[in-house]
Symmetry: C2
Subunit: 315 residues, 2 copies
């Protein structure tokens, strides 16, 4: 019983999880980007390593799938239609996410004998490192990178055992035995669904009010939770949480669906803020800021590839 195409009048909860039926696969999207760059199906085909008929057929089936003409064919080449340009822009974002995935996955697989061995905390590995690795690949294409993710203690241990060349940690202090520099900041953002009353406030929130309000939070012991506890200890301490969830994603989902205000790393909610699925609530006079640092064993400043990476993260 093959799954047949449903009519598309309605998408309930089931819509999620069937995306690959309605979104062209990565190969097709890469092909589309190549067509945009080269203005020719044949040239694009060459670029992605297939033949011209294959490219022609693939673009055509993508147009059928989307129900939109993407390309204006002419004997002198092919240009994107207006709709095609828009689709290509959206496609580019998928491909960029795939590049980040690839860079990260490659490092994750990288064996211990890589030229550059990185140890990083979860937040950094998740949000920042892929971008850095892409930049590094652009500048030094032959640097093989391996990545080990873990908390500050793990990072320190790896560095001190000379099993990593450079580390990245988030936290209030630099672990013993390590030197470091701040490479970025991770502010905690108070976020709520746009429908929440806080989203309509004129002025910033009072710290005491924040502390007194039940929030959606990560469980006790998580990094963000620690920073929040510390910041609000002088304002009466944190109220009983509204929800305690195990993952950043779960917290985000709860906030988006309107369960209540949540506190999350700015890095984690950047996209939701941009599209206004969430709104940031300013708070007055509390420092919800956490330093992200590159670290190395005291006295052993990074050299070689590690230095290349470090210089990327600081500009």
């Amino acid at each position: 019983m093959s799954r047949e195409a449903r009519g598309d009048e309605t998408y309930g909860a089931e819509a999620r999880g069937q995306l690959h039926h309605r979104v062209p696969d990565l190969g097709a999207l890469e092909l589309l980007l190549a067509v945009a760059r080269y203005g020719s199906l044949g040239a694009a085909a060459r670029e992605v390593g297939i033949t011209q008929p294959a490219a022609s057929s693939r673009i055509r089936s993508m147009e059928r799938q989307l129900g939109v003409a993407l390309v204006d064919r002419s004997p002198r080449g092919s240009r994107l239609t207006d709709a095609g340009a828009l689709v290509t822009d959206w496609a580019r974002r998928i491909v960029e996410a795939a590049e980040a995935f690839d860079a990260g996955a490659q490092a994750l697989r990288g064996r211990r004998d890589s030229r550059l061995r990185v140890a990083a905390s979860m937040t950094i590995a998740e949000y920042l490192l892929p971008g850095w690795l892409i930049a590094l690949r652009a500048e030094r294409p032959d640097t093989a990178v391996s990545l080990q993710a873990g908390n500050s203690a793990v990072v320190a241990e790896r560095l001190l055992a000379n099993e990593a060349d450079i580390g990245f940690v988030e936290g209030l202090a630099v672990p013993d035995g390590l030197d470091g520099v701040v490479v970025a900041h991770d502010r905690l953002a108070i976020v709520a669904a746009p429908s929440h009353p806080w989203a309509r406030r004129r002025g910033p929130l009072d710290p005491a009010e924040l502390a007194a309000t039940p929030l959606v939070l990560r469980e006790r012991g998580s990094g963000t939770r620690q920073v929040l506890d510390a910041a609000l200890s002088g304002h009466g301490g944190l109220a009983q949480p509204l929800l305690e969830l195990a993952s950043t994603t779960a917290v985000k989902a709860a906030a988006v669906s309107g369960a209540g205000p949540a506190v999350l790393s700015e890095l984690a909610v950047a996209e939701e803020l941009g599209s206004r699925r969430l709104v940031a609530i300013p708070v007055e006079g509390v420092l919800l800021r956490r330093d992200l640092r590159a670290v190395w064993p005291t006295g052993h400043r990074p050299t070689g590839p590690a230095r290349d990476l470090l210089s990327l993260t600081r500009g």
Copy 2:
């Protein structure tokens, strides 16, 4: 001559454009997310509408492809490994980009008889609208949306001809015959590669210095170019551009590769700023801000689905 797997020691310029050989396809990524949610291969399989053996095989081949164990199998279910959790986070970003693509593409295809007909400027259609459509689908799953992208004049024309129910424009003024409200702001950002001297400045840039410096820009007549011209007209006017390029993407690429400072919508460079592939240069005393407005024919405040959408964009 089949393309055989190259050794992966080195990736030069050719790495781009072969992503789909190293990144699992969307179906596999969705399956992985489902495994993360349900903690079971079989349940995940059911969720995405395939059988358990298919899921098992697919996860296994994904692990082979990435060279990393993603899932810890046990007779009581399956949990992600540490590496698997990281991979899943990266995968989620691809899937989210695919959701935005899908929401946009669906609207692009939508016929004129859709319940909600939207006309939007390019910047808004490209960056903001997909997120809004996802949110709208979450709240009103049965609202069929159609999208027409075009400049302010096109948007106005559609609205006045009653061929669109709501419009979105970017620009200095509201077109004649329309009413509107500001739903977001689009600041122009001065950006440069982290290696550029401006990235190391202590203080903000002087407007006159900005005006006097050759920049990488969109061609004359583009929206961002107009705003920039207007803002700097009082400071000696814009210098001869360093490069004039036809697309936002091309400008971004030039800036990232270090050609020189560029001026782009904040929306267009948010991701690059996050990963520090580009750095924003603050400028003093110039208003590089552009309002993004929802608009409708004077006197015809949006009702029904259009009103739902409008309320999403404003909170």
